[in-house]
């Protein structure tokens, strides 16, 4: 929505542009101030003026309202700060993908958009340039809800290129909504990565004084430089304070809160490490990555579904979608169950060579399809248990497995084989 026809006509009759200073008289009241862009949720017949006091007000424009330009907007040169590279410090590539961490208010649309470059985000955290030589590059500027497997592939390629170029760490600035999916995807695509690949985001946009972007980014770069680990990770706030950060394994992490800074939690495992305000890293495990040849395997099967079981789930609603796919993950109930009505569809799909994976919507704990009758029926129908994999991770892994391995049997075997810490036979009492 934009300004109404009549307002646009009034503005064009006086050649007023956004940013000009106007004098507006409407129904006996007069306002003088800067013409602001229309707000999406403002009434179309209301003109938004920024007064000298800094306040914006909406002025309803009627047929007899008048406006006059009293000052033209002088275009200001907006210079964006850029991150520094101090030679001799470890080289860390910062790849921008968008998200809240890259967002600020857009003066043209009045909305918050991911319009900051990776370099500008890094420059807002001056500590970062004291830890590492930052080589920033903006790959795309998207909210993560708009990302798909094509973007994961581009990110994987950019990360692989940075590794080849000798980067000692890679940080990806990413939206938080689907960061867990991207982290899982990169974990499978970049197995044997030669350096840490850390996804980092923010729950408060970078145009706010209270943004968690600078502190999260600093912790992420710290982990790249001092962490001594390889693989794909997510670094975000561990608590509500700006002094505590968690390093999560890319295949084990999930956004568990819509708005809190500590929204990201590891599932069925402790976070890999904790970073405190002074950059001290404390590990929760003694795991070390087995040495492997780095390998970029970025193919993904898009014809893959993620369904959530619910009471009364009607197979007829999903039949066409399931049968038109190459694989399905169902986030089932409890140990990994669906309503019995779904079992014939699962069998039909498996018989047709479609891989059906059963995960649990409990998010914690492992599936066990041998315990109850429904589970056994699902197993007999050909379903593959996801173990303690998160449903989202199982979904991403299935996309990857379908694209990189042949045959339903082989795909089923891969799904039950740990590749990037995504599943485990052990679950301990402290998580």
């Amino acid at each position: 929505m934009t300004y109404s026809e009549s307002i646009l006509k009034l503005l064009s009759s006086i050649s007023a542009d956004t940013g000009d200073v106007l004098s507006v008289v409407s129904r006996g009241r007069s306002y003088r101030g800067t013409l602001m862009p229309h707000h999406d949720l403002s009434s179309p017949d209301v003109l938004i003026i920024k007064l000298g006091s800094g306040y914006n007000v909406g002025v309803r424009i009627y047929g007899d309202s008048t406006a006059e330009v009293v000052g033209k907007h002088a275009a200001e040169a907006v210079t964006e700060a850029t991150a520094e590279c101090v030679q001799g410090l470890p080289r860390v590539a910062v790849i921008g993908a968008g998200g809240t961490i890259s967002s600020r208010m857009d003066r043209v649309t009045g909305t918050v958009r991911p319009m900051l470059s990776a370099s500008a985000v890094a420059a807002a955290a001056p500590e970062v340039s004291r830890i590492a030589c930052i080589e920033a590059r903006s790959l795309f500027s998207l909210f993560s809800d708009s990302m798909d497997s094509g973007h994961w592939q581009e990110l994987a390629r950019a990360a692989a290129a940075a590794m080849d170029g000798g980067a000692e760490g890679i940080v990806i600035l990413h939206g938080t909504d689907t960061m867990g999916y991207t982290a899982a995807a990169l974990s499978f695509m970049l197995q044997g990565a030669s350096c840490p690949v850390v996804l980092v985001g923010a729950q408060r946009s970078s145009d706010r004084p209270s943004s968690d972007a600078p502190s999260n980014l600093t912790a992420a770069v710290r982990f790249c430089v001092d962490g001594g680990r390889k693989g794909v990770f997510v670094v975000m706030h561990d608590t509500l304070g700006d002094d505590s950060f968690a390093v999560h394994l890319g295949t084990r992490v999930r956004k568990m809160h819509t708005s809190r800074r500590d929204a990201f939690r590891s599932s069925d495992s402790m976070p890999v490490a904790h970073i405190d305000a002074d950059g001290r890293i404390t590990y929760n495990d003694c795991m070390s990555e087995p040495a492997r040849e780095p390998e970029l395997k970025d193919a993904m099967e898009k014809r893959t579904l993620l369904l959530q079981a619910y009471p009364g789930m009607d197979p007829a609603v999903f039949e066409d979608a399931v049968m038109g796919s190459r694989g399905v993950v169902i986030a089932g109930f409890g140990m990994g169950h669906t309503g019995t009505a779904m079992i014939p569809l699962v069998k039909k799909a498996c018989d047709a060579g479609i891989t059906v994976v059963i995960a649990s919507q409990c998010l914690g704990g492992t599936t066990d399809l041998t315990m109850y009758e429904t589970g056994r029926a699902l197993l007999q129908a050909g379903a593959v248990p996801a173990g303690d994999m998160l449903p989202e991770t199982a979904y991403v892994k299935l996309m990857w497995a379908l694209a990189n391995h042949d045959g339903a049997e082989e795909v089923g075997r891969i799904m039950q084989t740990p590749l990037a810490g995504e599943m485990s036979d052990r679950r301990t009492a402290d998580v």
Partner: protein
């Protein structure tokens, strides 16, 4: 006072509303205890107009961390900046519209909440949410028309509970309490008029019946300037009676600064160089405790030259006090203070050290001055740089600044005046359209104006106009009417709410903390003759401990006595003085009332005591 007309003053009043919080469903009340401790940092950011705000920068340079405490029931994730704000509280918004109409201001067609950058940590988000509700209004005070520039609706800030310099602790209970901010035009011309206008606006705010009352619920900012001076903002005054003092003192301060400017200009004094020198070695054997303890802690003594500033730092018998202004600026850098040449020798620094320093600094002219600071080396340099900048500003005149009010009616430098660049749209709160129909229905049901309330109180309750006006001005008119409706006793209620309350205030108590229920209980007991009206001051004093009237009465042993018990007490008094009574006859009543009331004060009323005494005397003399 004719000189006082050469001043301009505008007032901004911030009044807390008695509703839920502005952007969440929390109760708006303060809590005695804080729970949790969340550490945060705030960073200055470029505003919408791409310039970093100078006040925000001054704050950020302090590099402070913040700790936030929650308060059960009164804080939630919104206060912690962990959840987006909800829509503004409907009752608070309605109140701001009603008040706008009461001050004849034009309400905007669409309300847009803004973010006002504040990085001192008092807002977890780093900004205060505020919206312009109405502008261009006016009120009449003593026949003069005072313009109302704006009525805003905004959120109150968090409460500071501890400040160690590098770490400030805030409690979030106050954050988000709705405030109406009303700003007048700079139309006031005398300190007394400032008080009258503030009182009138307070009365109009209370007329909405939705404002909080009590200490800290209303705060005044004063914008003062004199011809040739500059706008100074005195921020956060809480005591109405001190407003004229703040104004008078600020006018005098600006006059003093203009005088200093003229003196310096006549001398041809130019800006002092921003060069500091480490002079620790010159003070090795100095007797000053301040210097010795700073050096012992690893600090340095740093000096600056102030050529041409002698005599205005502290001169003309204390009438010129630029040194005090410089010291206030220096203290914002974390030092305890500075010494300057107009006050030395002194403070344990002898003439010999002064001469040595003058020599070292190459000071030759009669009017050459210097300042020194003993502290951590970098801090001392920063403090003296701030002091020199302040001295150099005196060459131009009065700098614009924000000042803190002090309890003695004076003020102190706090920070530069914030610029206009610090606002940008609050994208998390949607614009709110206000229709003409809505405003018309508000106009149809506007609350009673104070003048009408005054007439009604006089007509319906038989109190005089003076009492009625005072009840309204102190905000107790509603309570008065409620008490009288329930219990009658208008005269006693008026005396209690005016005289007894102001006596309690003079004793340092806060009578506004009494709840309506507590006070209704008090008058209910009085109506039931549970005690006599003379006991009210003592009972209220006891009730300030937070107890109800019945508990206070019991604690003071003030339960009224029955006629029989009272008669026995009086009979004993009469019998003790039997000779006197026989000699004086009925004329003994007067002299014996003293001992009788002494024995029964507060437990029996005067008339009753008199009747019983007459009866007992008759019994004795037959």
């Amino acid at each position: 006072m004719s000189e006082d007309h050469e001043m301009m003053c505008g007032i901004e009043i911030h009044q807390q509303l008695d509703t839920r919080k502005l952007f969440c469903a929390c109760e708006s009340r303060l809590c005695d205890d804080g729970v949790g401790a969340y550490f945060r940092k705030l960073r200055p950011i470029a505003g919408e107009i791409e310039t970093v705000d100078r006040a925000a920068l001054a704050q950020a340079q302090k590099d402070t961390g913040f700790i936030y405490q929650c308060a059960p029931g009164a804080t939630c994730l919104v206060d912690l900046d962990e959840e987006p704000p909800h829509g503004p509280d409907a009752e608070a918004l309605e109140t701001s519209l009603i008040f706008s109409e009461l001050v004849n201001a034009s309400v905007v067609d669409e309300i847009h909440f803004m973010r006002k950058i504040v990085v001192d940590g008092s807002n977890t988000s780093g900004y205060q949410r505020t919206a312009l509700i109405a502008s261009d209004g006016h009120i009449e005070v003593n026949g003069r028309r005072i313009g109302i520039l704006s009525v805003c609706l905004e959120e109150d800030a968090a409460r500071k509970v501890e400040d160690t310099g590098s770490l400030v602790t805030y409690r979030l209970d106050r954050l988000g309490i709705p405030l109406i901010e009303v700003a007048t035009a700079p139309d006031m011309r005398t300190p007394e008029e400032v008080l009258e206008v503030a009182a009138r606006l307070g009365t109009l705010l209370r007329a909405t019946k939705r404002v909080k009352r009590g200490i800290g619920t209303i705060r005044e900012d004063l914008n003062i300037s004199i011809p040739g001076g500059a706008r100074t903002e005195i921020k956060g005054a809480q005591e109405l009676r001190l407003l004229p003092d703040y104004v008078r003192n600020e006018v005098n301060r600006q006059r003093m600064l203009l005088r200093i400017r003229d003196i310096l200009s006549e001398r041809g004094t130019g800006p002092a160089p921003l060069e500091t020198a480490d002079v620790t070695a010159l003070f090795e054997d100095c007797g000053s405790k301040v210097i010795r303890s700073a050096v012992k802690d690893g600090g340095r003594v740093v000096a600056v030259r102030l050529p041409g500033f002698g005599g205005v730092l502290n001169g003309d018998d204390g009438a010129l006090r630029l040194g005090a202004e410089m010291a206030q600026h220096a203290r914002t850098k974390g030092v305890k203070g500075i010494f300057h040449s107009d006050e030395l020798p002194g403070y344990g620094i002898g003439g010999e050290h002064v001469d040595r320093l003058r020599g070292f600094l190459g000071m030759t002219g009669d009017t050459d001055a210097f300042a020194i600071c003993a502290s951590d080396g970098k801090r001392a340099v920063d403090a003296l740089t701030a002091a020199v900048n302040r001295a150099n500003a005196a060459l131009i005149g009065v700098p614009e600044e924000t000042r803190d009010p002090l309890p003695d009616g004076t003020t102190r430098y706090s920070r530069p005046l914030p610029g206009a660049a610090r606002m940008y749209p609050e994208t998390d709160v949607m614009p709110i359209g206000i229709t003409q129909e809505r405003l018309e229905s508000i106009r149809d049901e506007l609350p009673e104006l104070p003048e009408a309330v005054e007439k009604r109180l006089c007509a319906e309750h038989g109190i005089n106009a003076q009492q009625a006006r005072q009840l309204i001005r102190s905000g107790y008119d509603g309570l008065f009417v409620a008490i009288v409706a329930e219990h009658g006793m208008a005269a006693i209620a008026a005396t209690t709410l005016l005289n007894t309350f102001s006596e309690l205030e003079a004793e340092g108590e806060d009578p506004s903390a009494f709840t309506d229920t507590q006070l209704s209980g008090l008058f209910g007991m009085l109506k039931d003759d549970a005690f006599s009206k003379e006991a009210i001051p003592a009972i209220l004093k006891e009730m300030t401990k937070g107890v109800d009237a019945d508990q206070a009465v019991a604690a003071l042993g003030l339960e009224t006595v029955g006629d029989d018990e009272a008669a026995a007490v009086i009979a004993a008094i009469v019998d003790e003085r039997a000779d006197f009574v026989r000699e004086k006859g009925m004329a003994a009543v007067g002299p014996l009332m003293g001992p009788v009331m002494g024995a029964l004060r507060g437990r029996i009323d005067g008339k009753q005591a008199n009747d019983l005494l007459v009866k007992e005397i008759r019994r004795l003399i037959g």
